[in-house]
């Protein structure tokens, strides 16, 4: 999909994560950082000082826990050059299975473990088809998206929703640390850890290499298949964790849980500098900032009493702008 001519200009495509602060001020993360600052400023202007109050930040944070966690893991897959579009349905499936088990009086730990194992199983199926058989990631994961949604419906079954109000889980997930939701801080911490892994560790370098130039990575002795399988399973794992968090937050499983989440997450990740068609580019920090930007925008729209559909329009425009900026910087050019 990438032209060989653009590949020769690869140095611009690779993100220098070794110096995160430098990265924030120049490079692809610069634009998302700028966007982030602009949105915060807009929020302060249009909404007022309460935009950055502990309460409001907590509300945004609470809502963004799942996109952050799912996005962090999905970002891994993007870096290695595969896109997993089934993450939304995977979250829904995880929600349904977790709620079902909790309803059957399973313990939180065992229910969570079984749910995650099943999610990784489906991630494994994605991996077999995409890596083993060479199926295109987009249509394969689209198919998995549909199939998983059907499975979710079957699990929710005639009850349509599975109530799973677990007070312990609810308290855990709503716990606040210094006024900010703990899990939101955990999500940010996770992003930082993943940024470190991607920039400092050998595993991270391998992942980026596989995404950036498959053949070079192969020649360097990196198992392209191994990395991609790992990435897809991690993506499914992240979605599974997201689903468990969702059960804790909304205290139930619904048929439509996670519906459309993949588009929200990937749009936000792309605004943050990732590419769903080109591996090796993108920065977990940028991805997280992208998700924060979209969340903050939604919050501004909510608090200024505008229709929430305007958020979609702005996100669409942001997405186009982000991809355009990326191209101007030497990214993948469609010609």
């Amino acid at each position: 999909m990438t032209n060989t001519a653009a590949n020769s200009d690869n140095s611009k495509n690779f993100i220098n994560i070794e110096r995160p602060w430098k990265e924030m001020l120049s490079g692809s993360v610069a634009s998302i950082t700028l966007t982030f600052v602009i949105v915060i400023a807009l929020g302060l202007i249009l909404v007022g000082p309460r935009f950055l109050s502990f309460s409001n930040v907590s509300i945004m944070g609470n809502y963004l826990i799942i996109p952050l966690v799912v996005g962090a893991f999905a970002g891994f897959a993007l870096l290695s050059g595969v896109v997993d579009l089934s993450i939304g349905s995977m979250v829904g499936f995880s929600t349904a299975l977790m709620a079902l088990l909790l309803n059957q009086d399973w313990g939180i730990m065992s229910a969570g473990l079984v749910t995650l194992v099943f999610c990784m199983f489906f991630g494994g199926i994605n991996a077999i088809c995409i890596v083993g058989f060479g199926a295109g990631p987009i249509p394969t994961t689209l198919g998995m998206l549909t199939a998983l949604r059907g499975i979710t419906w079957l699990i929710c079954g005639p009850a349509y929703t599975i109530p799973a109000f677990n007070l312990k889980l609810f308290t855990i997930v709503n716990h606040r640390f210094l006024g900010i939701p703990t899990f939101f801080l955990v999500g940010l911490l996770l992003t930082l850890i993943i940024t470190l892994i991607v920039s400092k560790s050998r595993v991270g370098r391998h992942i980026k290499a596989v995404g950036g130039d498959e053949q070079a990575a192969e020649r360097a002795g990196i198992s392209v298949k191994g990395v991609r399988v790992l990435a897809l399973i991690l993506s499914a794992l992240g979605a599974g964790i997201g689903g468990i968090i969702m059960v804790a937050q909304i205290t139930s499983a619904t048929r439509m849980a996670g519906f459309g989440l993949e588009f929200e997450v990937y749009a936000a990740l792309m605004i943050g500098g990732y590419s769903i068609l080109r591996g090796g580019v993108g920065n977990p920090l940028g991805g997280a900032l992208g998700i924060l930007v979209v969340g903050a925008l939604g919050n501004v729209i909510d608090l200024t009493a505008s229709s929430s559909y305007y958020t979609n329009i702005i996100v669409g425009i942001l997405l186009l702008s982000a991809v355009y900026l990326d191209r101007l910087r030497g990214g993948d050019s469609y010609d």
């Binding site: 199926a135 295109g136 199939a147 991809v323």
Partner: protein, 330 residues
């Protein structure tokens, strides 16, 4: 194909036949699966073979078929996927409703829908060509924006009962639905034209090998702009088929169609890489995909289970496609 077969003179005939068979293996495969499905369902419930079943399948084929033509054109030309078909379809349907309500003759309504589709396609095309951005991302973004605009525009719309378009959606021609014949004709005409006309071959060339196409002097920008606009026109026409019988629809009504369309294009052997494929195969793939839900109903499966099957079929199709193209390149 092994070397011995190539050099043994007495087997040159069988070689030719083998090559011919390979070329037709994809349509034969689809046809076989389709027939097996029909036979399996008929064994379970003999009344599956009936005029009513044929009608049910054929009606479903109409809309998906025309949409698949638009999608296939984009894919073959190297545009990967057009994810904005749902919003384009609803825009064109909305325009059709407004024109019908104003009492316009049917031909004007059709033209209005097609022109709306072309305009939406052209907007996509402009962004893709001028900003040089990947069509998947562009159409993803425009769909997002389009659906939001549609929601702000209206919540429910319906063609007037008794209008020409309303009648068209329920009319028959030669025993088959009036909405199906345009699909049939379009699939075969476009399938033919794309290989026989210079413009069509240029489109495929652009999808296949950019540099070769450019060296031959084909204008990438012009070809791409035209292809996306034309594809939009097909979606516009599909809107007529859609809203003629849909009753009241809203901005989200067309979202479920997208997956079937993509599955149809891939099953028809039109590779997402571009530059390969025969559009007339869409007839087989759309036919198969339209028969599956009906079969499942005859088997007594719920719609929840249907979704699982649809997803599975797409996964299997794509996996097989990937496996096959890998074998070819290795």
């Amino acid at each position: 194909m092994r070397l011995e077969h190539a050099i043994k003179p007495e087997s040159s005939m069988s070689t030719l036949l083998w090559l011919r068979f390979r070329a037709f293996s994809a349509p034969i495969f689809l046809l076989t699966v389709w027939l097996l499905l029909i036979i399996a369902t008929a064994i379970y419930r003999p009344d599956f073979i009936s005029y009513q079943t044929l009608l049910a399948v054929v009606f479903t084929m109409s809309i998906v078929g025309v949409l698949a033509i638009g999608q296939a054109l984009v894919t073959i030309s190297g545009g990967f996927l057009d994810l904005s078909q749902p919003s384009c379809l609803i825009f064109a349907s909305f325009v059709s409703v407004k024109l019908s309500e104003a009492g316009m003759p049917f031909i004007i309504v059709i033209l209005g829908a097609i022109i709306t589709g072309v305009i939406v396609g052209a907007i996509n095309a402009l962004i893709i060509v001028l900003a040089r951005l990947n069509p998947i991302i562009v159409t993803l973004a425009t769909n997002f924006i389009g659906l939001a605009v549609l929601f702000l525009l209206f919540r429910a719309a319906e063609v007037p009962i008794g209008s020409e378009i309303h009648t068209f959606g329920r009319a028959y021609f030669l025993g088959l639905p009036a909405t199906w014949w345009p699909m049939l004709i379009l699939i075969f005409i476009v399938g033919l034209l794309i290989h026989q006309t210079r413009y069509g071959r240029q489109t495929i060339a652009v999808g296949g090998n950019l540099y070769a196409a450019q060296t031959r002097g084909i204008s990438l920008k012009k070809t791409r702009f035209l292809i996306f606009s034309i594809a939009g026109g097909f979606v516009g026409f599909a809107a007529i088929l859609f809203c003629s019988a849909s009753g009241p629809f809203n901005s989200d009504s067309a979202n479920i169609l997208q997956l079937n369309v993509i599955a149809a294009v891939i099953l028809a052997g039109i590779s997402l890489e571009g530059g390969r494929g025969h559009l007339w195969m869409l007839f087989l793939s759309v036919g198969l995909l339209s028969t599956v839900p009906t079969s499942l109903v005859f088997f007594g499966l719920s719609s929840d289970a249907q979704a699982i099957f649809q997803g599975l079929i797409l996964i299997l199709a794509v996996t097989f496609d990937g496996y096959r193209s890998r074998k070819v390149t290795l």
